[in-house]
Structure formats: structure tokens, C-alpha cells
Amino acid sequence: MPALANFIAHRLAAALLTLAGAILFLFVIIQFVPGDMITILLGPRATPELRADFVQRMGLDRSILEQVWLFFSRAITGDLGTDVISGRKILDMILEALPNTLQLAAAGLLVSVVLGVALGCIAALKPGSVLDTTLGVTSVAFITTPAFVVAIFLLLIFSIQLHWLPVTGAGAPDDPLDRLSHIVLPATALSIGWIGYLARLVRASLLEVLSEQHVRMMRAYGVPEGRIVRHFALRLALVPMIAVMGIGIGDMISNAVFVEIIFSRPGIGTLIYSAILNRNFPVVQAGILFSVITYITANLLVDLLNAVLDPRIARSLKQAA
């Protein structure tokens, strides 16, 4: 499908441009730091050798354009420097922490989509029922309670009081069951808000689709109601949900930071946080960079998924072009 390929190329280019802009933004905000930039960036551990090394690396003695170029090329090639505290390459630290965060985000996403869609469908198929009204009320509570509050309460109830699930950490790396038990509460905390939101969205969307003429048409041709709902209506009803997920992923990444810290899980969030507390800015910067890359990539994937599911989207680009 040439239209789809065209669309993919456009979105990819847009994503790369946004990424470039984001990196540039990072550079810019560093420039305006009040006070001695190097002290702030390196923290209290800045020995004269480190300072000289830093100046040379970042090209602080050279022109602004060269500095921008150095910044960019370093970011793209993955040369994020060496951590002054641990002596490790910062890139390694990130790559070690990233899978944990991605697993958490994926788990949260999965739970919220599965439960949100399921609850939304059930509510839409029996509008006005007890289940529907209950869902309507509780979904608001789900949506509005901040994720870190939910996380703390879950921790309190299930870990500390009931001892059902472990309190901290991500679990032993090679024991999938252990890892699973460690991810349950954090993923739940992360997904609660989304479950409520998606349930409401899917409910409204499905109700609307079921009242549209093409559904009537299918009924007029004798298609069984079950097939109409599962096959024809659901696919159309889920389209607005995909569109909304892109923005939601940013929220999920933000909330993942809190959840990681509260549950003491290793991950990008805890990495950035402890680096801030230790005034270790190079690590903070690297963490932010990776968060942005993750967010932009996730958005891109969501857009592409959207285009695949809804054939009208690729067309709008074709018309504009």
C-alpha cells in the first residue's frame, strides 16, 4: 500500500525532527543555568582534572555551534560519558536500567488495555445496568487519584499489612515468577488511572458505533449480534482509543518514575532521581534523553498502529500531499 508507506516515511521523519529538537532544547536549557555551569553539572565532586576534561569534551572553549554539534553527535552515537561516582560508562548504566522500566510500562499498558477495553465493552452492552453505573462512578475515582497515591496505598495494604506481595525491588533476574510477583503491584498502580479512562472511552465509543447505520445494515443482512459487536463494531470503536494512547504514554512514563521510586524498583526513574539527589547531572541528562527517545518512539508506534487500523488516516496525508 503506497499510501501507508508514504505515511510511515512522513511520520518517521517528523519523529526524528522532534527528537533533534528535543536534544537541542536540552542543550539550550543547560546554557542558561545561573552560576557556574560546570559546578552545577558535575556537582561537588568536580576536581580540576575532571573540570578540564569536561571542558574539553563539551568543547566549552569553542564556539557555540561546535558545542551544539558535539552535543548532538555524542547523543546520537551514544557516547554519554563516564559516571564520576561509579566510574562506569553512563550508557551502560542506562541500558541496565532501561529494560526494567520498559517491562513495567509494558505491563501497565497491557493491564490497562485489557481491563479497560473489557470493562468498557461490558458497560456498553448493558447500558444503564448496575454494572454500568458502578463503573461510571468508580472510573472517575480511578482516573483522578494520582498514581503515586495509589501506589502508596497498594504498598501499604498488600505488602506491608497483608504481606501478600513483595515490598521492594524487581526480583531475581532469572526467576520469571519472582519477577512477576514484583511487577504486579507497580503495574496495577500504573494502570489504574488508565483503566478508568479507557473504560469510559470504549464505552462511549462502542455505544455510538452500535447506533450507527452501518451496524443496522449488518443486522438487516442477518449477521448475528455477537459477530456484529466483536468483529464489526469493536474494531471501529477502538480507533479513538488508539489515538488517545499516544499522549497517555507520556503520562505513563511520568508515573512510572513515581512507581519505581515508591516500590524501589531499579529503572530509569530511580536512576534519574538518585542522580538528582546526588547532584550528578550527566546521569540525569542521559536519563532524560532516553525517556524522550522512548516517548517519541512510543508515539510513533501508536501513530503507525492507528494508520493500520483506520484506513482513512493514511489517505488524509495523500490528499494533503
Partner: protein, 281 residues
């Protein structure tokens, strides 16, 4: 004035709006009058630590024996002040930038959109953390950082409204009659743009409250001994093993504040939507 009263009436009519309004008023009263009627929130009395709610301490005491009712009230006050300030500032700045971009068009408009896109390319909390790491903590910085997060939203809406208004025939008519641009903006654009922006503002208040609480929880927002709901929750969290009470009071207040302002914000949005009006009024 009467349009505001009728707005309140509409909000009262919907059941969720009613709950939202009640909660918002309750929280406001708590924030405004709570600190007045309670003991000194900073009074340390270590022998009284971790008391459950009782007559002398309505919400119990924290790890240093400080009264939680007054601290929570203070924290709520801080949360409300910050969120209202942030929303007001980002609305104002966003409106100015947005209208300018919409009116100017060309490269100015494109540049503004690009900047907005870049700010939005960062997950909110991540950007906030980065800015705080660089520029330091404190009330002022917190205000600036969170405002920056919200300017693009208001800016985009203001710009969209401006763009759609710009090409309306009545604007052309005013121009032909010789109305200077400055007056044009003041008399025509601003009122039309402000409406949806205020609705957006009311819907954003709970989000700001949550972000501020989150940042304070991380220690990156309001600094002790000043209380914010976030710092209170954090203190409670640190001592979770020893006592529930410090956490519960502040967390519940935060949840109620966000719930109430969300319901209220949605009711404002629904009441202001002209398409929903007309039946049975």
C-alpha cells in the same frame, strides 16, 4: 454576573457536578479556614508522635508530633495557591503567545508550534525533574517549571481560536471600518479566546495539583518546613512501617481535591458547551 450564576446553576443540576462543587467548596473552606482554627502546624512534640485521630488532634500527629490537621490544611492551601497561580500564569502567557502566533502567521507561527511540540515531546515529570535539577528547588522555581509545562496547551488553543476567528467576516468588517489591531485584539479576539481557555484551565487544575504534589513528594517541589500535600505524603511514606495516619490524611485530601476539581472542571466544560444547551432550559 448572571451568566456566572446560571453556570453555577447548570453545574448544580448534574449529579457529578454537584459532588464536584461540594468537594471543591469543602476543600476551599478547609484550606482557607483550617489553619486559622487549628494549632501551630510546626509545633514539635516528639512525645506525641504517631497518634491516631482524636479530639486534640483531628487527623493525628506525624513523626515529630506535629498536628496533622493543621499541616494538612496548610498543605492544601499551598497546593491550591500553586495550582491557581500556575494555571493563571500559563493561561495568560499561553494566550499571549498563541494569539500572537495566530495573528502573525508565517515563520513566527511555525516557530511557536515547533517550540510547543518540543516541550510536549518530554514526559511532564521528566522535564520538570530535569529543570529542577539544573535550576534548583524552591517555590519560585517550582512555579516557573510547572507553568512551562502547561503553556503549550493554552498556547495551542489560543492559537487555534485566533486562527478560526481571523478569517471571520465580522473581523474583516471591523478592519475595513478602521479599527486598529490593538483594539481588535482587546475587544474581539480576547473575549472569544478566553472562554475556551478558562474551561481548559478549570480542567487542568487537578492535573497541576497532581504534578505539584508529585514533585513535592520527590522533594523537588515545595521545601520543608513549608508543607505541601506532596511533602506530607512523603513524610508519611517514610514512616509507613510505624504508622498509617500521616499518609492517610494527606493522601485522602489529595485524592478528594483532585476528584472534586475534576468533576467540577468537567461540569464547567459541559455547562459552557453551547451544543448541549437548548433542551429544557
Amino acid at each position: 454576573m448572571e451568566s456566572y450564576l446560571s453556570l453555577l446553576r447548570d453545574i448544580w443540576r448534574s449529579p457529578t457536578g454537584r459532588i464536584g462543587l461540594v468537594l471543591v467548596v469543602a476543600i476551599l473552606l478547609f484550606a482557607i479556614f483550617g489553619p486559622v482554627f487549628s494549632v501551630d502546624p510546626n509545633k514539635i512534640a516528639v512525645k506525641d508522635r504517631f497518634q491516631a485521630p482524636g479530639l486534640s488532634h483531628l487527623l493525628g500527629t506525624d513523626n515529630l508530633g506535629r498536628d496533622l490537621f493543621s499541616r494538612t490544611a496548610q498543605g492544601t492551601r499551598a497546593a491550591l495557591i500553586i495550582s491557581l497561580l500556575v494555571v493563571a500564569l500559563s493561561l495568560l502567557i499561553g494566550a499571549i503567545i498563541g494569539i500572537t502566533a495566530g495573528m502573525a502567521g508565517g515563520w513566527v507561527d511555525r516557530a511557536v508550534i515547533v517550540v510547543f511540540d518540543i516541550v510536549n515531546a518530554y514526559p511532564a515529570v521528566i522535564l520538570a525533574m530535569g529543570l529542577v535539577a539544573l535550576y534548583g528547588t524552591g517555590f519560585g522555581n517550582l512555579l516557573i517549571v510547572v507553568t512551562i509545562l502547561f503553556i503549550p496547551q493554552f498556547g495551542r488553543m489560543a492559537r487555534a481560536q485566533t486562527l478560526s476567528l481571523r478569517h471571520q467576516p465580522f473581523i474583516d468588517a471591523e478592519r475595513i471600518l478602521g479599527l486598529p489591531t490593538r483594539k481588535l485584539i482587546w475587544r474581539h479576539f480576547l473575549p472569544n479566546v478566553l472562554g475556551p481557555l478558562i474551561v481548559l484551565a478549570s480542567m487542568n487544575i487537578p492535573v497541576v495539583i497532581t504534578i505539584e504534589a508529585g514533585l513535592s513528594f520527590l522533594g523537588l517541589g515545595v521545601q520543608p518546613p513549608q508543607a505541601s500535600l506532596g511533602t506530607l505524603i512523603k513524610d508519611g511514606y517514610t514512616f509507613l512501617n510505624q504508622s498509617w495516619w500521616p499518609t492517610i490524611g494527606s493522601a485522602a485530601t489529595l485524592a478528594l481535591a483532585t476528584l472534586g476539581s475534576t468533576l467540577f472542571g468537567e461540569a464547567v466544560r459541559d455547562a459552557a458547551d453551547p451544543k448541549l444547551k437548548g433542551h429544557g432550559r
